[in-house]
């Protein structure tokens, strides 16, 4: 009696469980077919990767996403597929993906284990480099520290100005990998520093330009982009040094291997055909030798 009941229960459970994915949401491709719309999520202020352009968006990541949309169109045979641009914020970007509000997050993010609990990722589309911006007249001790050298060389005696340990204000974008990294590094860099966080790259540059912060840490390409267009250009300099590298990728639904395969196929083909390199030339000022080597690593054979 007991045994029978358990068996029946088990069967019921298995039946219910198999329904769960369907109930939660249909797979991405099913959803796209049903709505005849492919929704691209992006951060609107993330040039040169994704930037608002009227009611659409453009940028390196958007170009790649549009290639993926083409692939979806041919795979599903939907010649009239609509592309919808859905801006998201840094706070809700992962939720937008996991809830199905967007089909893919074009703006690249580093796949952290924490994020992987909620979403899955494509192959990397860009290797982010953490760099820093300082004012042109930044003191040598600060530059030494940022370039990984001891703040002060030579004797430390009563006349050593503030012992080379000047109180600095470091700025980073809130919530990013950057912030955690800096907190961990400050002790090792041998400086006394206060860390402040800012909303976006622009705000960080403004702080440094106004002298309210001494260093702003952010992604190198975004800094380069803003510095080349911005009126701060004369006041600020970007350090040559790249502190950390992090492959970044597009976030997509966690339980959808079919869609992920489609995305990775598209991107791998683009890596091999040289289309990614063209996009690099267009948006990111060309691919370095190191970046080109990584293209081969990232493309799935």
């Amino acid at each position: 009696m007991n045994v029978k009941l358990t068996k029946a229960n088990n069967l019921l459970l298995v039946g219910l469980l198999s329904l769960v994915p369907l109930l939660a949401d249909a797979s991405t491709l099913e959803r796209v077919r049903a709505n005849n719309t492919f929704t691209l999520g992006y951060l609107p202020n993330f040039a040169p990767f994704s930037a608002q352009a009227g009611d659409k968006a453009n940028g390196y990541a958007i170009d790649l996403c549009l290639k993926i949309a083409d692939k979806v169109k041919t795979e599903l045979g939907l010649s009239g597929l609509q592309i919808r641009y859905q801006p998201v914020t840094a706070n809700d970007e992962m939720k937008a993906v996991s809830s199905g509000q967007v089909d893919i997050l074009c703006t690249p993010t580093p796949p952290t284990l924490e994020r992987r609990k909620a979403v899955s990722y494509s192959v990397p589309i860009y290797t982010a480099g953490l760099s820093a911006v300082v004012r042109r007249e930044a003191p040598e001790t600060l530059l030494n520290v940022l370039n990984g050298k001891v703040a002060h060389t030579g004797p430390t005696w009563r006349a050593t100005i503030n012992h080379g340990l000047v109180n600095q204000t470091f700025a980073a974008t809130a919530g990013g990998v950057t912030e955690a990294w800096i907190r961990q590094q400050m002790q090792l860099l041998g400086v006394v520093a206060t860390l402040v966080t800012v909303e976006n790259t622009d705000a960080g540059l403004k702080l440094v330009a106004e002298g309210k912060a001494d260093v702003f840490f952010a992604e190198r390409m975004m800094l380069t982009n803003l510095l080349s267009t911005d009126h701060y250009a004369g006041k600020l300099v970007l350090l040559e040094r790249i502190f950390e590298y992090a492959p970044t990728a597009m976030a997509l639904d966690r339980d959808d291997e079919n869609f992920r395969l489609l995305v990775d196929t598209t991107l791998s083909e683009m890596y091999r055909s040289g289309e990614i390199e063209q996009a690099y030339d267009h948006y990111l000022g060309g691919a370095s030798d190191a970046a080109r080597k990584l293209f081969k690593v990232y493309a799935i054979p």
């Binding site: 040598e140 004797p155 005696w157 009563r158 006349a159 100005i161 503030n162 012992h163 340990l165």
Partner: protein, 446 residues
Amino acid sequence: MADSSKKMSLTGLTTLVTVNMMGSGIIMLPTSMAQLGAVSLLSWIVTAIGSMAIAYCFSQCGIYCLRPGGLSAYTEEAHAKSGFFVCSYLYFLSLAIANVAVAISAVGYMTSFLPWLGSGAIPLFIGTVGLLWLTTVANFGGPGITGKIGAITVWGVIIPVAGLSIIGWFWFKPDVLTAAWNPNNLPISEAIGKAIPLTLWAFLGMESAAQASDAVENPKRTVPLACLLGTLGAAVIYVLSTTVIQGIIPNAELANSSAPFALVYAHMFNPVVGNIIMALAVMACVGSLLGWQFTLAQTAKMTADQGMFPKLFCKISARDAPIAGMLVCGVVQTLMALSTISPNASAQFGKLVSLAAVTNLIPYVTAATGLLVMMYKAKVSAGIYTRNTIFLLIGVAYSLYALYACGKDAVFGGTLVLAFGYLLYGFLAKRFVDESPIVQTRAGNP
């Protein structure tokens, strides 16, 4: 006799030596040490012993050599007139540069009270020049007044630093110190190796007792005692305060503090007390600058008395103050302070400051070695000779290590400056030809 009231007492001179040594260096020391962890405290064993050995040599020199001239006079015993000049010249350069740097640091510490000073290069320059002249003019009153002002500003060290060494133990938690032992998990030998440079040069300044020998009561007794007691006092306070603070404030917080003494007092009492402590520390820093400006002027005066610096440096006022020389020093320092205006010049000035440590250390070697001749002349017993020679070897070894550790750039610059000093002396040397006719006769008649 009436003269002696204008002069400095033993207490005054001991205070001057201690404040000179600790004044500006102590303020950030707990932070730099905490960055390596409490293991850095072990470096005091090496540096305190080495420094005490040098202080002991200088105090012995002070007993045997009663001529005015401080380190330069000690040097002359073994290294003749050119030694006297080169020692004075190097030491004078060292102080002239270092004092500007101390003023810049002091302005840096003042910015927490007067934020305007930190608002740009021009306010920093104005603050630095203001402090330099304030401490120059305050010395116009003569050595007696300098000693009296020093006796007030010394409380800026005594209350925060020496006070902490005593009352701090009530807040001391051994487990906080244990946790702070080696936060970077470095091998112990490497950690000590990295820590020694933090404390290696912390005792520079012990010689200021000898430099003031012209301006103190009973120099034969006062100078040696002040040198020894001042250095010992500084060593005790350094060790106790940097130990106790690491057992009160958790390492991570201390290692990232720009005002560690204010932090520890804010922790023990409240932030208001912390601010008062910071103000006292700044006062001590300014007080030490006053002492150093005094020592600078004294060094120039003693050298001018020997006919080796321009006569203007030895013109003294009714109150024993070499005012004209002080004015010249002030002008030279104002020019150096101009470097704060441009970042490039600041970087160059930073190199000069490192060079100044080298030109401070070379006189240590030349002066301490003079003791060998002094002991020979005084016909000391074999026991004393052996004892003093052992201390001398330890002291000179320590000075050489401190020189070596200054690094290539600083020693390179220092050597050029030293060689240039011999050119200058070449022009002066003729003044001393007549003083030794016997030597000349001998040289002329083989």
